[in-house]
Amino acid sequence: MSDFFTVSVLLATVAAGIRLAAPFLLAALGETLGQRSGVLNLGVEGVMLLGAYGAYYATLRTDSVLLGILVGLAVGAFMGVVYGVVTLALKAEQGISGIGVFIFGLGLSDLLFQRQVGTPTPIDGLRDWEVPLLGGLPWIGEVLFHQNVLVYAAFLLVPVLWYLIYRTPFGMNVRAVGETPEAADSLGVSVNGTRYLTILIGNSMAGLAGAALALELGIFQQNLTNGHGFIAIALVYFGAWRPAGVMAGSLVFGLVSATVLQWKTLGIVAGTTASIVGMFPAVLTILVLVIVSRRTGAPSALTRPFERGR
């Protein structure tokens, strides 16, 4: 254990924690926007898997990480359109259709991987980019400014999303539609139009989150995300539907994951203990849900399809 409490290891762990927080954060921010408009998307995990595979495959074939990122985004956007049609036009029950999307993503990503790639082939994934000047700061520079571009993107999206939700006309529509869609509709705000847009953005971010995961690890395998998407949904509750709160939750999970990894690397945990430590994220998620369950502030119209005149 003393190996763990050295400055260099601790700094590396925190830096890794921030890096590992990025996929959670991207997916959870997207889900936050969707839920704010009243749409629950439980398919995040499936969309992440598809985005991850798309990004991995594109990078594998072209050696272009940028193309991989774009493919991840595009896959997410496509799934957003599909989910929008299913939940908004067809008004399908959101909880179960999300599970359908999850199973679909789980199956399709595995199918494509087996058929198109077959054996796990590592790729040259995202590289760290040192921010000029800031990267040279002692300690802080190493932790915060030696990260890959998707990590910067994820954390920059926190204020961007905050501004979008609280300071723009679109954000006001989103909040109104998620709370009292009838009121928004009676004033000429397009309820489903607003929701299509939030779902599109939210799923694109889920696709990006998958890309971040695959390109960070440089590999793909069946069920690569292993619960990341579902944890991201829990983080939305944890963050009380606010970007800053979601960020805090993502950091907690990133740091926990990084610590577990570091302990395994250092041999502090092994064998049976490693399995027990491997349960941490799932157990922590349940604990988090228990703690925040009495939290109020969920958008009132969450999961309720909108029908005019009722």
């Binding site: 109104a176 009292t180 009121a183 004033l187 000429g188 005149g309």
Partner: protein, 514 residues
């Protein structure tokens, strides 16, 4: 200051001609003609389900009409959505407030309006304009307050502000007074008159005859989707209007007989109950109801009535004080234990608390006594007994249903309420707690429900009647308690209860101060 509609006062604003709207199985509007002139209040009067709301929803673009024409200021208008209606200068104040509780007053007013910038929402000019209009129309409000912080009367003012801010020339008000105290209704009418003085036209939808007589310039009565009468207040009476609404003679007050009251069956002493947000909702409440007595609780909704009913049912914890029913202390009992003492409920929100929409009529009828013989034995339901028992109840309480298997949500509101009453009264309860028993049902069903309540009273049941319909409370109760902000402002005997006196108490003016 306010520039309104080119049509001068008295000019024709709206003409609806031959509007027909068919829903599956119901002809909601059958060739209805309706018009509004600038500067007038034209009332649409009718029972629930008569087609008034449908007609106005067609006008506001919420439903497409199957046939008919709408003309605005003489020009044919196609209104396919609320946006079209808003563009034509039509506003609507819905029966249920169309406000977003988590947004501020200014944000609610600005919602849906074009803004200067797409990337930045600047509410400063909105707040300024709201303040100007507040002064002009006597509508006091703080533009930066959140809706959830406002009382019901204040929310109503925000709704009107939304309409004035958009400078509507035609405003539809769908049952706007149902949540207001009598004095708030007076204030509302003053504001509405100011709006007609500006040359706007108003459509007032109501079934409250007293208000209709005092506010309207013209009255159109609907029944079963058709126009059954057109008149003006000077040439008609409340009785005539009721006749046009229902199509037959109506007794507005139920007949009552003297009943010997028995012992106290329901008592509350020093009762304190918290609301959903933890704030006190019922405060130090003392009240007793004897067998053979109806005690009414009057008051505007939201003053603790729902929390009181839930606490008495065992659904909401009692903070302090005591509730007793049928001689037992029920303060800490579960709903099941309380029911076993012979307590029945008619809940306020019938589709939420009273019946299960997806369940069949039979399943709803046995919802309380399904787990005791004869409905079930050793945990297994006895379908033969259930069918017999339910057929009997349906007949006795005149529930109109095609079959016992019909999903309950397919029945009309009045029939669902009868179903609930059949279930709750089938066990000969010692205590009945009835909340808003006739809200939203048609006059026929209301009359019937009143007669059933009077019948139970004659049989010695202690009845607590919670209602915001003053006519109902006065007509049925032996004593009337008025609730305001969780407290009882006063208990009046039937003889001393007048609308004026009750209205003062409902507004929180205590007797000694009045």
């Amino acid at each position: 200051m306010i520039v309104v509609a080119p049509a001068g006062k008295g000019g024709m604003l709206l003409e609806m001609e031959g509007i027909t709207k068919q829903f599956p199985g119901v002809l909601a509007n059958d060739r209805v003609d309706f018009d509004v002139r600038s500067g007038e209040v034209h009332t649409l009067l009718g029972e629930n389900g008569a087609g008034k709301s449908t007609l106005m929803k067609v006008l506001y673009g919420l439903y497409p009409a199957d046939a008919g024409e709408i003309r605005l200021r003489g020009e044919p208008a196609a209104i396919g959505s609320p946006s079209d209606a808003i563009e034509h200068g039509i506003g609507m104040i819905h029966q249920h407030f169309m406000l977003v509780p988590t947004l501020t007053v200014a944000e609610n007013v600005a919602l849906g309006l074009p803004t200067g910038s797409r990337v930045r929402q600047d509410l400063r000019p909105v707040r300024k304009r709201i303040r100007e209009l507040s002064d002009a129309y006597g509508l006091q409000m703080d533009p930066e307050a959140y809706i959830w912080q406002l009382a019901v009367g204040e929310r109503q003012r925000v709704e009107i502000m939304k309409a004035i801010y958009r400078d509507v020339s035609l405003l539809i008000l769908d049952e706007p007074t149902s949540v207001l105290t009598p004095s708030e209704v007076d204030d509302l009418f003053v504001t509405l008159r100011r709006m007609t003085d500006d040359g706007r036209g108003l459509v007032f939808i109501s079934h409250k005859l007293r208000e209709v007589m005092s506010l309207s310039d013209r009255i159109t009565v609907l029944r079963g989707g058709r126009v059954t009468g057109r008149t003006v207040p000077d040439e008609t009476s409340r009785e005539d209007l009721a006749h046009m609404m229902v199509g037959r003679e109506v007794r507005l007050a139920p007949s009552r007989i003297e009943v010997e009251t028995g012992e106290v069956r329901l008592s509350m002493s020093g009762l304190n109950v918290a609301g959903d947000r933890g704030a006190p909702a019922v405060i130090d409440l003392d009240l007793a109801v004897r067998g053979g007595e109806i005690v009414g609780i009057a008051g505007v909704s939201g003053n603790g009535q729902r929390e009181l009913a839930e606490a008495l049912a065992g659904l909401r914890p009692v903070e302090s004080g005591k509730a007793a029913m049928g001689g037992a202390d029920t303060t800490d009992m579960t709903p099941k234990e309380i029911r076993r003492l012979g307590v029945s409920y008619i809940p306020e929100e019938r589709m939420r608390d009273g019946a299960i929409g997806d369940f069949s009529v039979a399943e709803n009828l046995i919802l309380v006594d399904y787990d005791s013989p004869p409905m079930s034995r050793r945990g297994f339901l006895d379908f033969k007994e259930i069918e017999e028992g339910c057929s009997d109840l349906v007949e006795r309480f005149t529930v109109k249903t095609p079959s016992l298997d019909t999903p309950t949500s397919h029945l009309s509101g009045g029939n669902i309420q009868k179903l609930i009453i059949a279930r709750e009264l089938s066990s000969d309860p010692a205590v009945l707690i009835a909340s808003q028993p006739t809200r939203g049902v048609d006059i026929g069903a209301a009359e019937y429900i009143h007669s059933v309540l009077m019948e139970r009273r004659a049989q010695g049941t202690a009845i607590l009647l919670i209602s915001e319909d003053l006519d109902e409370v006065i007509g049925l109760s032996d004593r009337i308690a008025v609730m305001f902000e969780g407290r009882i402002m006063g208990v009046l005997d039937k003889e001393e209860a007048t609308v004026g006196h009750l209205g003062l108490l409902m507004a929180g003016v205590a007797d000694d101060a009045a």
